[in-house]
């Protein structure tokens, strides 16, 4: 079976209504954008519920509707576990550095890197973050093109141009105000499109728990186990589960578009409450995704139908059990998921280039002019993603999950140690981030297939690679910092008193500076030993 919407007009009307709403929000928001803080951080004014919805929408991408369900079909329950832990990202980010950086009123994590480590280190981190943001946006653009192809039956290239340009248009119009309000609205669309039609599907499948699809389908479990006895098996060894932490928990912590959502909060306290709403909304959507994955497996096992493209599982289930209008609405939910993520990606590219890079290239540039460059970067980033999506280079269409390991290796140590450790050295950051980042790429199966750590899915998704390079990057950064700070010839790279004062300030100490705070070497050395143990474990042969 393949997804094909019988009536093109239904899809067209749905898309026109959705984009009209997005453009209206963009236009309305553009009237509020008067300065840099408005453009990059929505004037630091977004309240907890809107921000919680926006955070969840920015996190949930097209994959939530398409790729994940296909992977649950393939890997069954272990992939559900992989997906559950994504929810840690923003709470951990907020706890470990989000509120500190919000106190500093930065626009992106790289703005903090500039204040803490200086210009050369910022260029290194911005380059890594830009690569990952382009990979992210590219994946969503390809998905949007395919969604238009499915909805209207037009060629992929046509769908890509129309969807891509229409998307870049409303994001550029609204800046961060528009991205925030649109993301909140898109999250509502996503939840309704995922949950409500799934209730009808579960009822048709015979579940008595159709009234709450995310959690009430337990009565279908015996029938499922009869058809697929291994569905709930945990399958992989303990290292597979542990390997989720370095790549998939620590990687998203440094995602600039997620951090930027925290920075838009109306206050530090509001940011923390936004996180609570984020977990509630994201949990609801993700639980719906697991239900769809379960239902997809159940459908194939019990009806004998074959889903030719597992990516389309949720769409096919809706076409099979629900009216065409509902199936089109679910596609609208998938579109909303893609659009909210692209919105976050493009705002991050805009902030990284317009604010962080331009502040380095032209430090005397007026704020107004920097915002103009931000707009240019946003539109250029979108256009580049569209152009790449016509014929994407193989190394860029590697799963975005793989890129999380790259981010965990290159950027997470810089941010976390920068916030929590005064000894973190500028040169040590550049060396550890560059070497370990390149090493992560080398030992993955995507570039040099003959040099790979791990095998199968763990290697393809960067889990085995991340288990080697993430702890290595932390350890290298710590050891090199301690060594370099004690070498007079490298004194230029040692943290200055002003760098150290930044740390006290962002933790809320104001002008009360205390040299001994966040400044020991015992615990960083203990962390190094732990990191090296994990590194060694990651190097052992993978089954």
């Amino acid at each position: 079976m393949e997804y094909s919407l019988g009536n093109v007009w239904i899809g067209l009307i749905l898309v026109i209504i959705m984009f009209s709403a997005f453009y209206y929000v963009g236009w309305y928001s553009s009237r509020k954008t008067t300065n840099e803080a408005d453009f990059y951080a929505a004037g630091f004014s977004i309240g907890p519920i809107t921000n919680g919805l926006g955070m969840a929408a920015t996190w949930a991408s097209l994959a939530t509707f398409l790729g994940v369900i296909a992977l649950i079909q393939k890997l069954q329950v272990p992939f559900v576990y992989l997906w559950i832990q994504w929810a840690i990202s923003i709470p951990l980010l907020t706890l470990l550095y989000g509120t500190s950086l919000r106190r500093m009123k930065v626009f992106t994590p790289a703005s903090f890197i500039r204040s803490r480590y200086g210009k050369p280190s910022t260029v290194v981190i911005v380059c890594w973050m830009m690569l990952i943001m382009v990979m992210y946006a590219l994946g969503q653009m390809i998905g949007l093109g395919q969604a238009f192809e499915l909805l209207f039956g037009v060629p992929y290239n046509t769908g890509l141009i129309v969807a891509g340009l229409a998307t870049v248009g409303f994001i550029a119009m609204g800046g961060m105000y528009g991205a925030s309000y649109n993301a909140a609205f898109q999250m509502v669309v996503m939840c309704v499109a995922m949950i409500v039609p799934m209730g009808a599907i579960m009822k048709a499948m015979g579940s008595s728990g159709w009234w709450f699809p995310p959690l009430a389908y337990g009565d279908m479990v015996p029938a499922m186990l009869e058809k697929i006895p291994t569905f709930f098996d945990m399958k992989y060894d303990i290292r597979w589960y542990f390997a989720l932490i370095p790549a998939f928990t620590l990687g998203p912590v440094a995602l600039p578009h997620l951090a930027m959502r925290v920075f838009t909060s109306s206050s530090v306290k509001s940011a923390r409450w936004a996180v609570v709403w984020f977990v509630l909304f994201l949990g609801l959507l993700f639980a719906g995704t697991y239900t769809a994955g379960f239902a997809g497996n159940f459908f194939v096992a019990t009806t004998g139908n074959v889903i030719a493209k597992p990516d389309q599982t949720i769409l096919i289930l809706n076409l099979f059990y629900n009216p065409t209008l509902v199936a089109a609405f679910v596609m609208g939910g998938a579109l909303a998921a893609g659009l909210s993520t692209v919105g976050g990606n493009l705002m991050a590219i805009s902030g990284l280039v317009g604010n962080d890079l331009m502040s380095i290239i032209a430090p005397k540039m007026q704020a107004k002019q920097r915002v103009r460059y931000g707009y240019i970067a946003l539109i250029s980033g979108g256009v580049v993603a569209i152009l790449l999506a016509f014929k994407p280079p193989a190394f860029l269409v590697t799963s975005i999950l793989w890129a999380f390991g790259l981010l965990a290796t290159t950027a997470t140590p810089a941010i976390l140690l920068g916030v929590w450790w005064k000894e973190a050295n500028k040169l040590a950051l550049i060396i550890s981030s560059s070497i370990c980042g390149v090493l992560f790429i080398i030992i993955s199966p995507h570039v040099l297939p003959s040099i790979v750590v791990g095998k199968g899915l763990a290697a393809a998704l960067g889990m085995s690679g991340g288990m080697v390079t993430v702890p290595l990057s932390f350890a290298m950064f710590i050891v090199l910092s301690i060594v370099f700070n004690r070498m007079p010839s490298l004194a230029a790279y040692a943290p200055t008193l002003e760098d150290k004062k930044v740390i006290d300030r962002i933790h809320g100490w104001g002008d009360e500076y205390e040299e001994t705070r966040y400044n020991g070497i015992t615990w960083p050395l203990v962390a190094t030993v732990v990191c090296m143990a994990v590194f060694w474990w990651g190097l052992q042969p993978w089954s």
């Binding site: 559900v80 832990q85 923390r272």
Partner: protein, 94 residues
């Protein structure tokens, strides 16, 4: 007072990091102790539904407690910052 607040900040960060990790990675515990992979809850195998519930409502509770505790900690920090600001003003006034 300062030293106490500093230690409190470190402990809050460590404890909530661990709680978040536990809530999001509870499946690992079921893998670590396979004997726990028994029984059902709401009709589901416990090792399937509990990680979902902990990763959703469990984490939400952790985040709510985190918001209350960290916001209270911020209030304490603000009081300290205000006190040190006032003492500086008094010293400079003399």
């Amino acid at each position: 007072m300062k030293e106490k607040l500093y230690k409190k900040e470190i402990w809050i960060t460590i404890i909530f990091s661990l709680l978040l990790m536990l809530a999001g990675h509870s499946a690992t515990i079921f893998r670590l102790f396979p004997s726990m992979q028994q029984g059902t809850f709401w009709g589901f195998p416990t090792h399937y539904i509990l990680p979902i519930l902990l990763g959703w409502f469990g984490m939400m509770i952790v985040c709510a407690v985190m918001a209350v505790v960290c916001n209270k900690f911020d209030d304490d920090m603000e009081v300290l910052a205000e006190q040190s600001k006032n003492s500086k003003l008094t010293v400079s006034g003399r």
